[in-house]
Symmetry: C2
Subunit: 366 residues, 2 copies
Amino acid sequence: MLNLQTKKQKFYEPLSLESGRMLLEYKLAYETYGTLNADKNNVIVVCHALTGSHHAAGKYKNDDKSGWWDGLIGKNKAIDTDKFYVICVSILGSCYGSTSPLSIDKSTGKQYRLNFPVLAISDVVKAQMRLFKHLGINQAHAVIGGSLGGMQALCFAIEFADFAKNVIILASTYQTKPWAIAFNKIGIEAIKNDPEFKNGEYNEHEILKNGLKGMAYGRMAGHISFLSPDSMDKKFGRNYVKTDGLYELFGRFSVDTYLQYNSINFTKRFDPLSYLYITKMMNIFDCTRHYDSLEDALSPIKAKLTLIAFSSDLLFPPSCMQQMQESLLKLGKNSKFILIDSDYGHDAFLVEIDKFQNHVREALNE
Amino acid sequence: MLNLQTKKQKFYEPLSLESGRMLLEYKLAYETYGTLNADKNNVIVVCHALTGSHHAAGKYKNDDKSGWWDGLIGKNKAIDTDKFYVICVSILGSCYGSTSPLSIDKSTGKQYRLNFPVLAISDVVKAQMRLFKHLGINQAHAVIGGSLGGMQALCFAIEFADFAKNVIILASTYQTKPWAIAFNKIGIEAIKNDPEFKNGEYNEHEILKNGLKGMAYGRMAGHISFLSPDSMDKKFGRNYVKTDGLYELFGRFSVDTYLQYNSINFTKRFDPLSYLYITKMMNIFDCTRHYDSLEDALSPIKAKLTLIAFSSDLLFPPSCMQQMQESLLKLGKNSKFILIDSDYGHDAFLVEIDKFQNHVREALNE
């Protein structure tokens, strides 16, 4: 059992953002597992995905649910907390304790709401670097993340090339492709147009109680994009809800109840403004933006890279990571591309830990 | 130029439905192209997809848009109207002139609305057979359809095995898989919960003027499912709307405007109740339901089958049609499976006519 406690750190020095705007001050919520050694060189930074949080492993007291990567992080696990000091930070914009659209804008004394600045992956990474510096950590043994967390890991590798010795990227990409942007569009439109969203001025406590329907539609789209035709066949088939009539207009298949259940639950744990800002962050992610080519963008990298893709991932298909690998090899970088055969689609980086944990262990212990 | 006119036919004999319910009377809207020969044996039945209509080819006076399969149907085209008499019928439940949830229920004198019975593919096919009988047509040279139209074509082949000599099925399946059901779920939930839907009691003229937002979200999901990651890359890439700022929260990529434009347009031409009933019809389609196996289900078929699948179709992936082909060959049926290499996803059966028209021509003229 890990001894868990959410830690918070506030920073009073303004953070300049990629957009040209600025956060006058900000706070970060984070969790750590394991013990920082005397040389402060056993740090592993774990980056969370779109709707994740700093709670990556272990259980809180009186909570029956473990952190989102508990299968990977802990005593004797691939990210061994007997050996490593693991840090996971809730990204700026998210709703689990770090500065978000619901935080107070110091310049107005009111919550930001829709005046919150658009954040880029580079921004949330830069904000984390300040935390590490504050903790006296100048180098990480590794940075690891999947999906949006993988984008952060890549950004660490490019923009803070001296920071991490190893960077492990799972189920991610060097730029978000239109397929992913399209899925995000459903949530963006449905949230924005939901009368209960009130142009961002909703009561944040009420909205979690009732669940914003518009966000539920977006999350349904998300859940589809996280799976694949094959994984749905295996998981649900054409099973029908036994108490619903086949010829009832609103009768449901198992896949319907899965989407319904998960999307409604989601609206009771996640803030709609955070959802909008983080999908935006994902959509505009493109590590090549300020470079002439992908090769050019990857050229600053000094870390050893491990790229783990999943065969049935439609959201961030293996081809993106393969392209990265080709560029990295051309550049003579130390990089390994691993394709995991999986039917679980994008979700594989969360649910098929058995299939890739040894690759992570190896990358960390080589 | 085809001389176009929507024809209507009303039937006063009750239609028993798969659900155990009954339509006391119904009407069908249809269009024909070409001339019926004296032997009445040059008929080609064209079946439309989810949101299609009987207007498959040609242009109406003062209309600048052609029918949905105009590239395939006409003088000297693959379905040559100099040679064949082509009939396309708006299916029951749809909103272009055939009996629908907005029709008057004879037993109450009021519109059906949510009391409209759930229809199965078998029902809409049976209803069409009555029309053909009424027109003195006892046999078709061919039945052809894509997507939901392909389901109808398959149903003709199984349930009216003596009717069509040739059956051509494109981008379809023998049963709807959970991937497709999941995409439909977004529209079902978003329509049902939209306050403007008013539990099906909306004003049908007003709703077309304003466009039901809930249906727009469902249609966005539909448009995603009709494409593929590759087709989106080619069609949109990461192009951004020039007048939108990259760091504006609601700034849009090209793919966003595509989804927005098409989904909003759709809400101004399609009825939400029809959408619910036809997605339901698609979801419950499973030609094996009353049989022990796919092979068993296909055993009544006498027609020569042509199965045309598209490599990047994620909605009804080629594997479904391939399974059908294997069963048909085991049964010793006359069947041909053609896999078209395409990046256009499910949409290919509508937009890549060049790639498959010769296969259709061949199937019709052998």
